[in-house]
Amino acid sequence: MSVYVDITKKLGDFTLKVKFKTNRLATALFGLSGSGKSVTLKCIAGIIKPDSGKIELNGKTLFDSEKNVNLPPQKRNIGYLPQNYALFPNMSVKNNIYCGLTKYKPSQRKAICDEYIERFNLNFVADLYPHQLSGGQQQRVALARALATKPKLLLLDEPFSALDAQLKLQLELDMIDLLKEFDGDIIFVSHNKDEVHSLCESVCVIENGVCSVVCDIENILTNPATATQALLTGIENICEINNTGMTEFGFTLSDLKLGEYNHIAIKAKDIKFNCKNSDVTFVAQIDNTIKVSSNNYLVLIVNKNTKPLLMSFTQKENFANNSKITVGINYTDIYYLK
């Protein structure tokens, strides 16, 4: 079970250059909006033709610009779930699933359709039309429709982006459950780090149309190498740094590693209050306090017009807005990124 992708595609003044190989079950393509993740998926599915390169699935060539091979999407045996699920609006749930069963004998189709309706818990909505369904139900129908064709590879393009945040967790659990019985590869596109963590074992980070190698999520968590990877790990403070050591946050670093790197990242919990022994200390003004899920943050501003810096604090400590505090950071707590 492996997917090999090595393609280039020019889209306006943006060039996508993606090369990766997966041999694990679930791989995430992580990147910010507009980084070329969706286009990569469409190239694999055969909807968009890359300018050059090669795409292989389990050793079978799907696309090869040198040998002039370009299998149509109908012959690739790939399940594709676009962002808005693309259910056929003129067909009932049952027919949406039924019409895709083209490779089975007509006598088998009804049984297979019923089997998937049963397994995906769609009995009660089988005769309804897509616009009568909730977002979660639409997602289940699209998943059932794609998996009923027994694809070798399943492509999921931001499957949770069209859903309410409250529903997401339950639907993530549902999806993990439903995908258990699927024995093919999965490539999952997302810009949400939490989804990537809960659904995938390995990840490939795409930045400005160029991707990193596929690696374990754990690897990136402990050792992010680029700004986007740092974003994936959930590090709160990421900023650019220029060659004099000046950060966008407004304080200066005089460290040896300058030049090679152009971004730094600092965890909010690593910024310490009143710490005289820290490697870097500076005075900052408290702009605000915010609460994100269960974490409390102080929003610090070093100078006017600099990027705000987030610092963790416990509710026992009392900070007044607009008061000035001295904070410190250790060099060992700073991630240097490309």
């Binding site: 055969g46 909807i47 999407p73 109908q74 790939i78 808005n84 693309a86 067909m91 019409c99």
Partner: protein, 229 residues
């Protein structure tokens, strides 16, 4: 009252709507998927009859189909048929005049169809023919039907190009619009008014149908299928 003009008008309108429908829908489908430059050039050519005066269209048609001109002469020599001054000659004129309406509405419908739906259908193994007839056409149906009804209404009211290429022969090429002109010219206002009332009733019914189709179309349209980038 001789109802021949009513019968003739409806027959001409129906046939030309059918022709414009078939040609318009297929050219709209392929042009909506074509390259931008091709799209713009075809749009200009296919929409021209909408803005040109019908007399210009009539003139150009006579220059092509007239008995002393190339296509007309060729046809007469081979089949012994004159392409002008028959009841069906008006079909040439009305088809050209209504084509832009059919083409434009069909293209609008295809353009607003989210292509990710047909792309996903392809990954399920469905053939392009199946996708066109069972998914794209049903989803775009209402817009296309509204375009066809509008084309029919416009064909019914065609006068300029029709009178030039088919003329006015009572009981042969007379349509409602040419009859009204003839009756006014000969001072028969009473009969002219009768035809005008008939014409207004037909047009009002047609517009009512379009309204019904469009209101159904917009009520059914779910924001979920609005094109995502």
């Amino acid at each position: 009252m001789d109802l021949y003009p009513l019968f003739n008008s409806i027959r001409i309108s129906l046939i030309s709507t059918l022709i414009a429908f078939a040609v318009g829908v297929f050219s709209a489908y392929y042009i909506s998927k074509a390259h931008r430059i091709l799209k713009v050039s075809f749009d200009v050519i296919f929409t021209l009859p909408l803005v040109l005066p019908p007399t210009v269209i009539g003139f150009l048609l006579i220059k092509i189909l007239g008995p002393n001109n190339f296509v007309g002469e060729l046809f007469f020599n081979i089949f012994g048929i004159k392409l002008t001054m028959n009841w069906w000659s008006a079909i040439f004129a009305t088809t050209v005049v209504i084509f832009p309406l059919m083409y434009r509405t069909a293209r609008g419908a295809f353009q607003s169809f989210d292509t990710i739906i047909s792309d996903t259908a392809k990954t399920l193994g469905l053939s392009n023919t199946y996708i066109f007839w069972k998914i794209t056409m049903p989803v775009c149906k209402q817009g296309i039907i509204a375009g066809a009804v509008l084309s029919f209404a416009r064909a019914l009211g065609e006068y300029g190009a029709t009178s030039m290429i088919a003329g006015y022969t009572p009981g042969k090429t007379a349509t409602i619009s040419t009859t009204v002109y003839q009756l006014w010219r000969t001072g028969n206002d009473e009969l002219a008014v009768k035809w005008i009332v008939i014409n207004i009733i037909i047009s009002a019914v047609v517009l009512l149908i379009i309204n019904l189709i469009e209101s159904r179309y917009y009520n059914n349209k779910e924001p979920f299928y609005v094109r995502l980038r």
